[in-house]
Symmetry: C4
């Protein structure tokens, strides 16, 4: 949707995922550090399934929104009379959402009973990001200079994300890559909002001069500021989780961590039983 | 061959290989998971040799077809009278097939008695795909916009395949890369058919408007849909193999897996004999 | 600052860091080789913190210089009257310095008590270099040919550095990459000076002919000579450190190395005490 | 030197190195396979030093040839009268040779007593190839289409070599990469000769039509044929070495392999002596 809402919707999705990832991976890392055997509690597997389901849900929302807004194609692809394509923009956006949906489905399957090979979930996300960037790349031809430039900056964030996620296929559970991905998701999210504000000012203010070189220069720099901010947010979340976990441990009787330890305890007692029966 | 058949032939080759790979690697993965020692049955080595031989055969068919169709160069490269090159298109296609033939020969040699270093077979396939993309890249200069665009989309599939296979040189037997390669082969195959249908409609219908921007946008999106479909096909094959293997194991007395186990059993008994004679 | 000083300042920073890195990493490598257990003395951790602090300091100097030189923006971004951007060049340079500052902060945090995951410091430096290259890339549009070319050569040094540092995230303490990074920092530093001399001759001499193809060819070659020189400097530093360490060991009672050994000795004695108490 | 000899000289260098590498690495691989402990004979270290020295020598020959041919610059860079650059082409070629010389020096140092960190020799070669490609890239601007195209094909070979050698920094002694590098060196060598034949026909025949699209298409394909040939040559060398080693082993009392074994034997006996004295 070539309007403010059409940029705010995906932007919000990415911001939510960026925030969520920065919290989730920080939490996982701190818990793993504390459990001295480098063990991740089982609890995180159901979290992954929940995340996958959320992805599928968000994608469905996005696809339906693109199709059934008043100005949308309403599932018509080819207009019969004029033999022309109907609302290709909306169709392209729907396609982008579709691949994020596939990625979400892969996430769910990886932790289900079918046991899809580990790593396919990251490859799925990487492909989804690549398709997003790929479609955007051919999307913005023949547009004014500022429009092209602001979208090509978005491509930087998208393809960096693609690369980062692709590396995660081979370097799974690497906290550096995971936080990097979170920061890139945040960047993409806030940049979608920025695009909305620049190209379709919601307050109905004056449009930006689209061919002014100064605007181009400012927007490039502004993109870097967005990234500096998103690094800051990830760093804050990391620090906050660190403090929370510490407090949790001391005060509240180790609820969350206990969850993992109790399970491990059960397993241990079971194993020791088995060992005993072996030794008898 | 700049006609429908010239695109359908390589397209079919790639679809067959894509389907075959998705089945083979799924099968291998499931068997390895079941044999708890992570052992692959010897059976697969002869399968690899057979695959190499098929590649060589397909390449020969392709080369002969390009050379000896009525409109082909019939092995003439330089026309003596006019001092011009004869049917360079067909020659270029022959060259592409040649490299897939070399890759097939490498596959065979890797599992033969000469013991070519492992990894060279993947490098060979990677080079074959690179040469294909490389020739296509210089192939489509000076063509109408739609023709160029539809081929440049093909390049995306080809070079992704090159990269994926190159990674396999170093990360051999990585199921994620293997399934990714299968999906890319399927994509390439179906896209060859798509090119045939768009540029040389076999039903003799009206040609597509080659300079229409809407067509370009649709084709880009259509490429993504092809990939979504090929992901689905690979996923289905993976799931089907999973079920088959399970059933096989339970009902039919573990025929295929037994093949591997019996061999291993023989080896084990031989080793135990050796150990006994050592111990005596 | 589009003058000689504006290029000499960052150039000097990079030369200092290049020299420092070539010495530091050579020293670390030689000491590790001598301590036969491949142990790095604790001493280097405080060095890293000091380096981070220096980075933050240099960045602040750079940012303040860009903002508060007489021709600078003095923190004004938008001029109220004409609704145009103020001194975007200086703002862009400030942004570059900002990211090096963030990288410095990450360096400090990695070795502080918060224990930021290892690898993030390298990622921070890689991002800082990327942002520098990214801003320069859009910086030089619409300039004369020689100006563009001389900056695009700089980009080669910057992006090689980005890639090298990115690899270090995953291959930490790899002496080859560390020396490579040092040589690229030197190259960047001397090239900044070269740009200053070519575009803003400080002696007030005649300007270079900006559209002459011969000048372009010479500058390209000159860039390679700069790199050959920086390789030589790194090699010299490596050799000198080697000799110094050897002499130190023989003559001066192993002061620096002793620092590490004494600590290790203490740890050992502590451990042996523990062992004894265990054995009792 | 923009003539046939100027292309034949580097071409011959690369062909010699390509052939040499394909033999050396095959030999090394076969010997390592036979010595069941995966041990490489010391003999190869002196071979590496010799190779480095040859590289330095070839580079010197190249540099001197470029400087002191009758049409060369004779070490003059700036002509005093006209204030123009003298024979920049020759200077650029000299620079290319210079970096190969540096790479050769690194090879020697790696196996000398100074013990340069392992991997730097490969990085040196990678940088030399990069500089070669880098200078060629800016070399061919403003030339006729065929000239540009034939050189850009060369760039493919050069940059593939750069990448392959860069990988070897981290994956040392990987036979696949080593044979790949040999095949790329052969390709580069034969392509230099091809460029000479096309642009400066030594027989004084008619020049090629430089703007003909057919010629471009043929040259692209021809490049692939060169690579197919170089693959064949490497494969032949690999097979021949295999046979030689086998025969050697059976007939001649294992001369070459013995060299390694004898040394190892000595070391073993020395170690066993030490052990004995320890045990006493």
């Amino acid at each position: 949707m070539a309007n403010f809402e059409g940029h705010a919707l995906p932007g919000s999705f990415f911001i939510i995922f960026g925030l969520w990832w920065s919290v989730k991976y920080s939490l996982k890392y701190h818990i793993m550090k504390m459990n001295k055997d480098g063990h991740t509690p089982r609890f995180f597997e159901s979290v992954e399934v929940f995340e996958g389901a959320t992805k599928v849900f968000c994608s469905l929302v996005g696809m339906l929104a693109e199709q059934f807004v008043p100005s949308g194609p309403h599932l018509a692809l080819l207009s019969g009379e004029t033999h022309t394509w109907v609302k290709l923009m909306n169709w392209q956006h729907s396609t982008m959402y579709l691949f994020f949906g596939i990625s979400g489905a892969m996430d769910i399957l990886t932790y289900s009973s079918i046991k899809v090979p580990i790593g396919l979930d990251r490859l799925g996300l990487s492909v989804a990001l690549f398709v997003e960037g790929f479609l955007f790349y051919y999307h913005v031809v023949n547009r004014p200079m500022l429009d092209q430039h602001i979208h090509s900056l978005l491509l930087t964030a998208i393809f960096s994300g693609t690369l980062c996620t692709l590396l995660e296929v081979f370097l799974r559970d690497n906290i550096v890559l995971e936080l990097f991905r979170a920061s890139l998701a945040l960047l993409q999210g806030t940049w979608f909002w920025q695009i909305g504000f620049v190209l379709y000012p919601p307050s109905g203010g004056p449009q930006w001069e689209e061919e002014d070189h100064g605007n181009i220069m400012f927007i490039t720099m502004c993109f870097c500021w967005h990234y500096a901010t998103s690094i800051l947010i990830v760093a804050l979340n990391y620090a906050l989780t660190h403090c929370c976990i510490r407090k949790c441990r001391r005060n509240k009787g180790q609820i969350e961590i206990g969850l993992g330890i109790r399970k491990k305890h059960k397993e241990n007692s079971r194993t020791s039983l088995l060992n005993e029966s072996d030794e008898e």
